[in-house]
C-alpha cells in the first residue's frame, strides 16, 4: 500500500514539530513534507506535478504568502483544483472559516491546545472517507468536530 503523502505548510516551527510528532504518534502509513509559507508551497506543487501530495494542511497566518492567497493560487491552477486542502489554523473566527470555505478549502481544523486532541484530529482527517465527505459537502461539515 502506498504511503499517504501529506504536505504541511506552516511558518511556526513548534507547530510543525507538534504536527510531525502527532502524526508519528498515531502510527499511520504517511509521508510528511513540511514547508514554511504559501510561496514555497506553490513552487513545490507546480514543480512536483508528477508526484502531488494527497493532502495539504495549510496554516493561514504566514509571511510572504499567506494561507488565503495560497488557497486561491491552488484553486486557480487547473491540475490542482481538486487537491485536498485542510485549513490548519489557530483562528476560530467565523470570518476566516467563511472565507476559506468560499475559496474552496475542503475542511477546517482549529489547532487544538492539547497534544492528545491534536492526535485525535489528525487521525480523523487522515482516515477520513473523503469521497463521502465531499459528496455531501456543506458548510456545517466544514469545521472539523472532534
Amino acid at each position: 500500500m502506498n504511503k499517504l503523502k501529506i504536505l504541511l505548510v506552516d511558518d511556526d516551527e513548534d507547530d510543525r514539530q507538534f504536527f510531525a510528532d502527532a502524526l508519528e504518534g498515531i502510527a499511520l502509513n504517511t509521508e510528511l513534507r513540511q514547508l514554511e509559507n504559501g510561496k514555497s508551497c506553490m513552487e513545490y506543487l507546480l514543480q512536483e506535478t508528477d508526484n502531488p501530495p494527497d493532502l495539504v494542511f495549510l496554516d493561514l497566518n504566514m509571511p510572504i504568502m499567506n494561507g488565503f492567497e495560497c488557497l486561491e493560487a491552488i484553486r486557480r491552477t487547473p491540475h490542482l483544483k481538486d487537491l485536498l486542502v485542510a485549513i490548519y489554523s489557530t483562528s476560530s473566527a467565523e470570518r476566516d472559516i467563511e472565507e476559506t470555505f468560499e475559496k474552496g478549502a475542503n475542511i477546517y481544523i482549529k489547532k487544538p491546545s492539547s497534544f492528545s486532541e491534536l492526535k485525535k484530529s489528525l487521525k480523523q482527517v487522515v482516515k477520513m472517507n473523503w469521497a463521502y465527505h465531499l459528496n455531501d459537502f456543506k458548510k456545517e461539515n466544514f469545521l472539523l468536530k472532534i
Binding site: 507547530d15 507538534f18 497566518n61 489557530t90 483562528s91 489547532k111 487544538p112 491546545s113 497534544f115 492528545s116
Partner: protein, 646 residues
C-alpha cells in the same frame, strides 16, 4: 342752531383747505354754443396748482391756464353736466407742470349754477350758467354764492376732514373758559355716528369734557390769542373706540376753524410696523442673525440693526457700501464671496455660502449668508439673512475631531481584539500544548513537586484561555450580524442545562423553572446569558448546603415595570434567577455588572470578572435590563426584563 354765513369763514375754509376750488362760467348760455369757461374764482390751492406766481388765474379761461393743457375731455364733461343738470363724476389724469395728477372730478348741479367737485385732488369747479356778465356783476354773483348756506355746506360736507368752527366763551374776568361748537360738518358722523345738529351749540366741555384736560383747550386758547395756526395730533375716544385725529386750528375772526383728519388707520399701520420692526430686531438678536436688502444695481446695501452688531459695530457706524463689507471678509474667503455675489447679481440666482469675517474687534467669525433676488419696480433686489454660525462650525469641527478619535479608538479596539484573538491565543495554545505533552509523556519521570508546578501552569493557562474567550465574547456582543429570531427560552434552558449537566450532577443541584416564554433574540447570546447566570449560581454556593436554583417567569404589567423601561412602551417579560448561594452585599448590586469587577478572591472562586458584564451587554442588546439583588450568605437574585413578542 347757528349758521355760519360769514364771508371770511368761507374764504378761510376754501383757502385753508388742501383742495383746489375754482369757479368757472361757460361763455354761452346755450350749451351748443359753449366753447370755453371763464374762471371767476380760484382758491389758493387752485392758484398754485394751475397758475403761476405772477398773476392770478381768476378771470382767465380754462384752456389758457399756464399749467392746464388737456382741455378737450374736461370740456365735454362740463358741457354734459350743464346740459343734464345732474351730478357727474369721473377720473381725469391731468398733466400739471411736470406731474401727472390723477384727479377725481365731481360735477354737481347747483342752485345758481353747477357745482363740480374733484375728490382726489379736491379741486372744485363751480359753474355759473350765467355768461358774459360784466366783471362787477360776476363778483356780486360770487359773493352771493359764497354766502349761500347751501353752497357752504356742500363744500364743507364734501370735504374729507371734520371741519368745525369754535367760538370762545369768556368768563367774568374776560378769560376763555370754554369754546362753543358753532358749526361742525357731517364728517363727524363717520366717527361718532352723530348728526352735526346734535353737536352744534354744545360747548367743548359738554361735548368732550376731556378736551379741557388733555391739552386741546390750551392749544385752542393759544391759537385764539396768538392768531398762529396750531397743529396737533391727539387720541380721542368715541363710543369707547380710540381714534387718532390730526388737527389744524386756524384763527378766524372771533373764532377758530378746526380741521380734524382721522388718521387712526395710518397710526395703527404705523404702530403695527413699529411692532413688527421691533419684533424682527429682537428675533434677529435672539437668533443671532442679521438681514440685508441690496439694490443690485447699486453699491449701497441696507443692513438691519443686528447685522451691525454682529460685525461689532453700532448701527449706522459703518457705511454700508458693498466694498466696505468685503473689507471684513477673511482674505482667503474674499474670492468666494465676490464670486457668489457677482454670480447672483448677474443670474439673479439664490446665493448660499459660508465665509469668515473679522469683526471690528478682530474676532474671527463664521457667517452663513442666504440671499434671494426679486424684482420690484424694474429694479432687482437681493434680500437675505446673515447668520453667525461660528458656534455650529466649531461644534461641528469638535464633533468631527471626536468622530475621528472614536474611529481611532475603535480601530485600536479592533486591533486589540485581533491581538487578543490570535496573537495572545497563539502563544497560550503553545504553552498548553507543551504542558499537555509534558503531562502525557514526561509526567512519570517528574518529581511530585514538578508535577505540582505543572498542574499550576496548566490551571493558570486554562484561566487565561477563559479570560481571553470571555473578553472576546464581551467585545463581540455588539458585533453580532445574526438577525434576531423567535427564540423559545425553554429550548435555551434545555441546551444550557445539557452543557452544564456534568456539574449539576456532581453537585446534585436542584434546578426548577416555570414555563418560559418565546422572545425575539439571538440564540447563542441568550444561551450565554442563561449559562452565565446559572453557572454563577452553581459557582457561588455554600459548601454545606445543597444548591437550589429557581427560574421564574412572568409577563409584567405596566405598573410593575422599573422606571427606566417606562418610556419605551410595549410589554415585558420578567425572568428571575434565584439561588440560595453565598449572595453578595447590597452595596454591590450595581457594581457587580461592571467589567472585571470581582467580589471574591481568585483562590476562593474561579472567574474572570466578565461573566455578568457579558450578561448585561447581552440583555441591553436585546433591549432589556438586568438587575441584581443579593443578601450576604442568603442568596442572589438576578432579574432580567426582555421585551415580549409583538
Amino acid at each position: 342752531m347757528t349758521r355760519i354765513t360769514s364771508d371770511s369763514f368761507f374764504k378761510n375754509i376754501v383757502d385753508g383747505s388742501n383742495d383746489a376750488l375754482v369757479f368757472v362760467c361757460p361763455n354761452a348760455e346755450n350749451s351748443k354754443d359753449i366753447n370755453h369757461y371763464v374762471i371767476t374764482y380760484a382758491n389758493k390751492k387752485a392758484e398754485s396748482l394751475f397758475g403761476n406766481t405772477k398773476e392770478s388765474i381768476q378771470n382767465k379761461i380754462i384752456k389758457e391756464l399756464p399749467k392746464f393743457f388737456e382741455f378737450g375731455e374736461l370740456l365735454n364733461h362740463l358741457n354734459s353736466a350743464i346740459k343734464s343738470k345732474k351730478q357727474e363724476a369721473f377720473n381725469f389724469v391731468q398733466k400739471v407742470g411736470h406731474k401727472n395728477l390723477n384727479m377725481h372730478f365731481k360735477i354737481e348741479s347747483h342752485d345758481t349754477g353747477l357745482l363740480l367737485s374733484i375728490t382726489e385732488a379736491k379741486v372744485y369747479y363751480v359753474v355759473d350758467k350765467e355768461s358774459n356778465l360784466p366783471e362787477g356783476d360776476l363778483k356780486a354773483r360770487i359773493n352771493e354764492l359764497e354766502i349761500s348756506n347751501l353752497f357752504s355746506y356742500r363744500v364743507l360736507d364734501s370735504y374729507d376732514s371734520i371741519v368745525s368752527y369754535l367760538k370762545p366763551i369768556f368768563d367774568d374776568n374776560k378769560v376763555i373758559s370754554d369754546f362753543r361748537i358753532d358749526y361742525i360738518n357731517n364728517r363727524i358722523d363717520d366717527i361718532t355716528k352723530e348728526e352735526p345738529e346734535y353737536i352744534i351749540g354744545k360747548t367743548l366741555y359738554e361735548y368732550y369734557p376731556k378736551n379741557l384736560e388733555n391739552g386741546v383747550f390750551e392749544i385752542l386758547k393759544k391759537c385764539y390769542y396768538s392768531g398762529d395756526n396750531q397743529d396737533y395730533v391727539k387720541e380721542f375716544f368715541f363710543n369707547k373706540q380710540p381714534y387718532w385725529l390730526s388737527n389744524k386750528a386756524v384763527k378766524m375772526n372771533d373764532g377758530i376753524i378746526l380741521f380734524s383728519k382721522d388718521i387712526t388707520q395710518e397710526k395703527k399701520n404705523k404702530e403695527q410696523l413699529f411692532i413688527q420692526n421691533r419684533l424682527l430686531l429682537e428675533a434677529e438678536h435672539v437668533a443671532n442673525i442679521g438681514s440685508f436688502r441690496w439694490n443690485l444695481g447699486k453699491e449701497e446695501i441696507k443692513y438691519s440693526e443686528n447685522l451691525y452688531h454682529m460685525f461689532g459695530f453700532e448701527p449706522k457706524e459703518l457705511d454700508s457700501k458693498y466694498d466696505r463689507l468685503l473689507a471684513f471678509v477673511h482674505p482667503n474667503d474674499i474670492e468666494k464671496v465676490k464670486n457668489s455675489f457677482h454670480e447672483s447679481r448677474i443670474s439673479k440666482a439664490k446665493t448660499d455660502l459660508v465665509f469668515r469675517i473679522y469683526t471690528k474687534s478682530n474676532d474671527l467669525k463664521y457667517m452663513n449668508t442666504i440671499g434671494e433676488c426679486y424684482q420690484k419696480g424694474g429694479n432687482w433686489y437681493m434680500v437675505g439673512v446673515i447668520r453667525d454660525v461660528t458656534k455650529q462650525i466649531e461644534a461641528e469641527s469638535k464633533l468631527q475631531a471626536k468622530n475621528a478619535e472614536l474611529k481611532r479608538t475603535n480601530s485600536d479596539l479592533e486591533a486589540f481584539n485581533r491581538v487578543a484573538s490570535h496573537d495572545l491565543q497563539e502563544p497560550l495554545r503553545k504553552i498548553q500544548m507543551f504542558v499537555s505533552r509534558l503531562n502525557e509523556e514526561e509526567k512519570d519521570t517528574m518529581s511530585l513537586r514538578s508535577q505540582g508546578y505543572l498542574e499550576k501552569v496548566k490551571s493558570s493557562s486554562n484561566r487565561m484561555r477563559n479570560l481571553i474567550n470571555n473578553l472576546l465574547s464581551y467585545s463581540k456582543v455588539d458585533e453580532v450580524e445574526e438577525q434576531p429570531k423567535r427564540i423559545d427560552l425553554n429550548d435555551v434552558l434545555t441546551n444550557v442545562l445539557d452543557d452544564l449537566g456534568e456539574r449539576i450532577d456532581v453537585m446534585d443541584a436542584d434546578i426548577t423553572s416555570d414555563a418560559l416564554p418565546v422572545v425575539n433574540g439571538v440564540q447563542f447570546q441568550l444561551e450565554q446569558l442563561f449559562a452565565n447566570l446559572i453557572g454563577n449560581s452553581l459557582k457561588y454556593v455554600h459548601q454545606e448546603t445543597k444548591s437550589k436554583i429557581q427560574i421564574k417567569s412572568k409577563v409584567v404589567s405596566h405598573e410593575e415595570l422599573p422606571p427606566e423601561l417606562l418610556s419605551f412602551g410595549g410589554g415585558y417579560v420578567k425572568l428571575q434567577f434565584i439561588d440560595n448561594g453565598i449572595g453578595f452585599e447590597k452595596k454591590y448590586q450595581e457594581k457587580i455588572f461592571e467589567i472585571f469587577q470581582r467580589l471574591h478572591g481568585k483562590t476562593e472562586f474561579s472567574g474572570t470578572g466578565l461573566g455578568l458584564s457579558i450578561c448585561k451587554k447581552i440583555v441591553q442588546s436585546h433591549n432589556g435590563i438586568i438587575q441584581a439583588k443579593g443578601e450576604l450568605n442568603k442568596g442572589a437574585e438576578f432579574t432580567v426584563y426582555l421585551p415580549t413578542l409583538i
